[in-house]
Symmetry: C2
Subunit: 261 residues, 2 copies
């Protein structure tokens, strides 16, 4: 019998999040799953890592057994520490999720869920991030199935170096989902509002709020595919180079941009 693949599972909602638990159960059907995740909720931390204080990790028990390791740090910390110090071996795949809230468009940049997966690829391991559309009573079931199917496929076929699959699942019943689309990341972003309030000592404080401003309309974009009832799968990487503009700079800026040092 072929050896089961080894999967490191993490998230940004914390090791006790229901989305992580359901995904762990689904992945365990075909893989050995090790859970290393933040001890507490870490939404919108981006790709933060802890460099100025030490990290701690402790066993986390669930259903009368060791479920995984809780790290007092960020999602990226959890994956780094998990692979380098806790597992001490290289998993075949890193999976992050299931996040309760979509990670599409500009949210990809703020996402702790995506950053855990990104850290996997930085360490040379293919990775998936899995998120569902936010609702008051989330059903993680369909997303767990999608994630399992994609994880199995990737364990078999691999991914190019430094590639993450960013999977987002719409909040509609499984039988209404139309299929899946391979998409690109959208450009939609938040119209932030800060609510300014006064504390009991009459000092200002600010709450971030706001709505998503939709700038995407093409069918092949993450947000649009979801809106139309598809699962969105976007291949992403961490090379931020703006290649088109780099070529333009080389052609047009050379000689024009001058400076004296």
């Amino acid at each position: 019998m072929k050896k089961k693949p080894l999967i490191l599972l993490s998230n940004d909602d914390g090791i006790d999040a229901p989305g992580l638990y359901i995904l762990a159960k689904a992945l365990k059907r075909f893989a050995e799953v090790k859970v290393v995740a933040p001890s507490i909720q870490q939404s919108a931390v981006g790709h933060a890592i802890t460099v100025r204080t030490p990290l701690r990790a402790h066993e986390f028990r669930r259903d009368n057994e060791i479920f995984g390791y809780a790290v007092d740090g960020t999602p990226a910390d959890s994956v780094k520490l998990g692979i380098r110090s806790i597992l001490k071996l290289k998993p075949d795949l890193v999976v992050s999720g299931i996040n309760d809230g979509l990670n599409t468009a500009v949210n990809v940049i703020y996402s702790g869920t995506v950053s855990a997966a990104t850290e996997g690829t930085i360490l040379g391991i293919p990775a998936l991030a899995v998120s569902i559309e936010y609702t008051q009573h989330p059903d993680f079931g369909p997303a767990a199935k999608v994630a399992s199917a994609v994880a199995k496929f990737v364990c078999k076929h691999g991914l190019p170096k430094d590639t993450i699959l960013n999977i987002n699942v719409p909040a509609i019943p499984a039988n209404k989902i139309k299929g899946m689309k391979f998409t690109r990341q959208g450009r939609s972003r938040w119209d932030d509002k800060f609510y300014q309030r006064k504390d009991p000592k009459n000092r200002n404080y600010y709450w971030l709020a706001g709505d998503m401003r939709i700038l995407d309309h093409d069918d092949d974009v993450d947000q649009v595919a979801l809106k139309k009832g598809y699962i969105s799968i976007t291949p992403i990487h961490f090379d931020l180079t703006h290649r088109e503009f780099l070529e333009k700079m080389r052609r047009e800026w050379d000689g024009k941009l001058k400076m004296k040092l």
Copy 2:
């Protein structure tokens, strides 16, 4: 007389960092400069934003006048709050730095300096991130001149939508700098090591350390240009889509990746 451009200046080392102060002085020669920066050191926070607690900001005085606003949050928080609530108007440019330490290759992902600039472009404003190579006695002078020259150029010529210029300056005397190169982001990354230690109560803790593993050798890559004595300017964006692989997925994965929901 033409109106002076308005620049929002931020960083990740904190509002009292010398790199920020020197850059503010240099930019003030041709621009109106508003400083909104984290109240304390925020290295390696990536693109974190504060969503679960409110933010606070206070005036920060220096040289017997108001130098800027200190935000109890991340670099991205500072830029968001600065533009949306403190300035309440759109600057012509966002500048972040000068960071004491290069932001090249994989460090771009972890960088708070870059994230402040990225937040500027998310809000629709062209942005620069400026960093120098770390030394024990940093000289921010050459980088301040480079940043000023580029800032002036960008205020005049603009940048394409959603584009950040990531500027890195080598730690060599100004007269040894060979010029500048328009580069792409490198692939080099850290060989992380965690030092496991015991606290006085005999519990484990882990310190992150490690060395950069050099994977880049091409002349047009940020790291290599710096090593050869050039200033590196990399145009970056926040669209993480892996376009080449997306096309391959569309050609080869459709029909093969199956799932039952």
